[in-house]
Amino acid sequence: MKDDTLPGVRAADIDIDGDANDHLHDHPGQTLEGVAPVLGLYYRALSGRKTALLPYGDGNSEQYSDTHTAIRLPERMRRFFSGHDNFIWYKIALTHRAAHYEGGTFAFSLLRPAKHFAALRPSTMDAMQRHARASDLEVFFSLFAQRKLAIEVFTVMEDLRLDEWAKRRYCGLRGAYQKIQQAALHERPSLSELGPRNALAEVMVRISLASAQAFSLPALLHEPARQLMQVMQPLLLQDACVEDSAEAAMRAYCLLVGLPNMEADYGPSSPVEMTPAQVLALHEPRWPAIWPEPERTHLEGDVLATMMAEVSYRDKLGSRFTDHKDAGPLEQQAIYRFAEADADPPAFDTAPDKFGAERSKPTEAPMAQDQHEHFGEEEAHFHSGQLHSNDLLSTIYPEWDHVAAAYKRNWCRVKESHIAPVLSAKYFEQTLRGYGRLMPHIQNQFERIAREGMLQIKRAADGDDLDLDAAIESMIDMRAGRSPSDRVYVSRPRMARDVAVAFLVDQSASTAEHAEPLSHGLNLHGRHYRTILDFEKETAALLMASLERLGDTYGIYFFSGSGREDVQFRVLKDFDERLSDRIAARIDNIKPLHTTRMGPAIRHTIHKLRGQEARTKLLMLISDGRPFDLDYGQQYGENAEVDYAINDTRQALNEAREAGITPFVLTIDSQGNDYLRTMCDGIDYEVLDDINQLPTRLLALYRTLTD
């Protein structure tokens, strides 16, 4: 087959040898990175599953099995000359993977009858060693002496059924599907170099790829090949189901193990005649009635295991359907290899007996530091590390993991507490006195907002009530024979202000840094310097004084923490509290704490804002730097925590928007522009160059945002 050329397809051995230099002038192919955003959506739409698309290395042709939450595809695809065809390859690979879920591979039931086959599965199977955790597929595979071979045969049968199913269901892909299958056929090993079992297995794979070519086989294989064809025929039918694949697999398995196990060169080849009529005319052989099949086949000298070359666009089912305990570590090991591209690929597994028994054990070191929890099976993913709320004032929130593109459930504990007041509201009063000259100006601004909110529009063309003056004038005009005005209504736009605002202020350790000294040498707190936190506290004091006059509902919260189990959410003033001396005296007790885990703090603020009945809801996040915490994305490597934290924060801000809250981020970090652009995609933010501006700027912003 390799000698044949297929238009548009590169010679198959390029990828395997890695000898691509001659072809550099050709299309560079498609990278998974390039196609993943679009095809990720495509796969999710088709399968209804959230799954990460992960790459494996270019030089390594070893195919990895998928899990329910992660799909692995080649990092780069340049099998075809045209970029579009390489894209199509990825698309078909994903369509095939989605078909496993849509077409019900994992919904296999031992007891459901097949549609096109009489049952070979023993009727007593249910009573067989079924234990609680085994899936039906796993019990099914325990029927076979050569379990690994059975899994492979079943996979080929199921692939055939699903590919045909997908071609019918997705008419738009039919042509593309055929093209990819043709290309896959083009890469198959030559039949003449294979022993009888391997050759028949190869025939099976080619039939599953809808091969139209006649096979040339030694006479020994003619009859089994025709029988194989007959067995696989029903899987092409529209209503074939996974149980049909299982029954077909039992028969194909019998045909394979019924052959002598010897080396190649067992007679001259001649074309097998396999017209549909001939295949239909075959009478079915007598299949074994007892399973596991009698010892005979097992003992016949299985020195050589049956081997099948992979079809590149199809997936390996891996541990997904076996539910096999042994499969856990194996899976993880494979993943580790995937992460460490330079590790040696494992030897081809030739273990003839129990699946997994002779797999090399994963080495200790990688397992010990393997923190890729999200790569594992769903169950492990969801049941590891979840937190529970055990007191009234702590709340558990999820966290967004952008690598897995999923939420980590019950991940962060937010502990809410009121800041304890000191004896007198010294800080508050000092601040108001210090900003005394500024205060009338600020308060004027706020009173103007209040007045604007109460406006009535008279002489409107439309409104709830008649404007009496205008109506009378209009009547006079009418009686006097002049044309009357129709602007005789009073309209009341929007009512008074209906605003709830939450200020969320960073109280992390970095706010202890000294700020630039003030130009006018204002010495507010009996110290010759002021910290960033001082400015935040002063701003809080000014806010409280101003907003109290305006009558808006507002809350001021400080946050910090140390790790996901301990996010501190400290209440300076809650929504339902009125400003009092006691509350003003809380400001004195705000001290710098630890880290800045913004996500959970934002989520808790959203929770608080949800409880407010207001037309306009605003969340103002005031921070001195980017989000950071001890266990905030570090599991993905050294520099991953920046992206992780920023993505979680962005997700939390988006959640706020979805909850009808307008988020706004104000940062006092001169490098803020770098990450804020990503973090606040579509969300308003501002970077302050000079911290001295914080109080006035925030009050001005408040006015524009709530207007």
């Binding site: 955003p37 679009v38 999710r44 739409a45 698309k91 892909l173 063309a461 009547m475 979805e658 009808g660």
Partner: protein
């Protein structure tokens, strides 16, 4: 609104009481002559009938374009036919919006050449004449507006006309239905509990694939294969839920796409303009959706 556009109250009343077709003045009440096409998804018809017999107001909730309004039209027809009437109950529909005030619902004084006179709002007309009053997308209205229906929706069945100083007793056939779309997930757009707890709530969702296929085939007039493909596209695209799209494609959009196809537009193009462009402005998302459509339609 300029006074001239309002009809006189007597005009409005006679119109609702009279014949069979939609009324001319852009209005809110009409009677269906033919049976509206509606395929029941589960027990919503019998629930609605029971609530109607007891005159318990009904709240329909569900995503946009899943058939809430059609269901109300159907029920107006169905209830009248069950009792032997030859045409449907009058159906007064008010599409709620942010600037809708209680005045808009109840009525107002207007000026005319010989003084001021009162004009009933749509709710008052329905209360007087009976029939179904349907407040569509009720959460869009301001909460203080919706409070006017409170006394109508409990045992009192009274509508206070504050400005006239009148208390109006509802017609025995008056029946209130409201709808809203919980998908917006915004506490701004939520009903007051005191309002909500005056209704029995019937939840709507997109019909199952096979049912949706029948609906598309019938409404768009396309063949079974096209309808099947459109229904499949609907199911698949709805997998991209909240996180990617605000709301999945409605049955209505699928029907629009079907109609375009019936008019000779190429299927992929029809889906592009009727479904993808209607749902998102995001380029990447549109590309992903297009891949789904290209897989389903040749």
């Amino acid at each position: 609104m300029p006074p001239s556009q309002f009809p006189s109250p007597s005009h409005a009343l006679s119109a609702t009481q009279s014949a069979a077709i939609p009324i001319a003045h852009g209005a809110e009440s009409y009677r269906a002559v033919d049976e509206p096409f509606y395929l029941p998804v589960s027990d919503e018809v019998s629930l609605f009938e029971a609530a109607h017999r007891e005159r318990i107001p009904v709240l329909l909730k569900g995503p946009t374009g899943c058939g809430k309004t059609r269901f109300v039209e159907y029920m107006a027809w169905h209830l009248a036919h069950k009792t032997g009437g030859d045409s449907a109950y009058g159906l007064t529909t008010v599409s709620c919006h942010e600037d809708l005030t209680a005045t808009d619902l109840v009525g107002r004084y207007l000026l005319s050449s010989d003084g001021t006179h009162w004009i009933d709002g749509p709710l008052t007309r329905a209360v007087k004449s009976g029939g179904i009053c349907y407040l569509d997308e009720v959460v869009e209205a301001r909460k203080d507006t919706i409070v006017v229906i409170h006394s109508l929706t409990d045992h009192r069945r009274l509508l206070p006309l504050e400005k006239k100083g009148e208390l109006l007793k509802a017609h025995p056939d008056f029946f209130l239905v409201v709808s809203y779309n919980p998908g917006y997930q915004s506490s701004l757009k939520d009903l007051k509990h005191s309002t909500r707890q005056r209704f029995v709530s019937i939840e709507f969702d997109y019909p199952a694939q096979a049912l949706e296929q029948r609906i598309i085939a019938r409404e768009a007039g396309v063949g079974a294969a096209t309808a099947e493909a459109l229904a499949l596209a609907g199911v698949k695209i709805r997998h991209l839920d909240q996180q990617n799209l605000l709301e999945g494609p409605s049955t209505r959009l699928l029907i629009y796409a079907g109609r375009l196809i019936a008019q000779g537009v190429a299927p992929r193009r029809a889906c592009d303009v009727a479904i993808i462009q209607a749902m998102t402005d995001d380029m990447l998302l549109a590309k992903g959706l297009r891949q789904v459509i290209q897989a389903i339609f040749p």
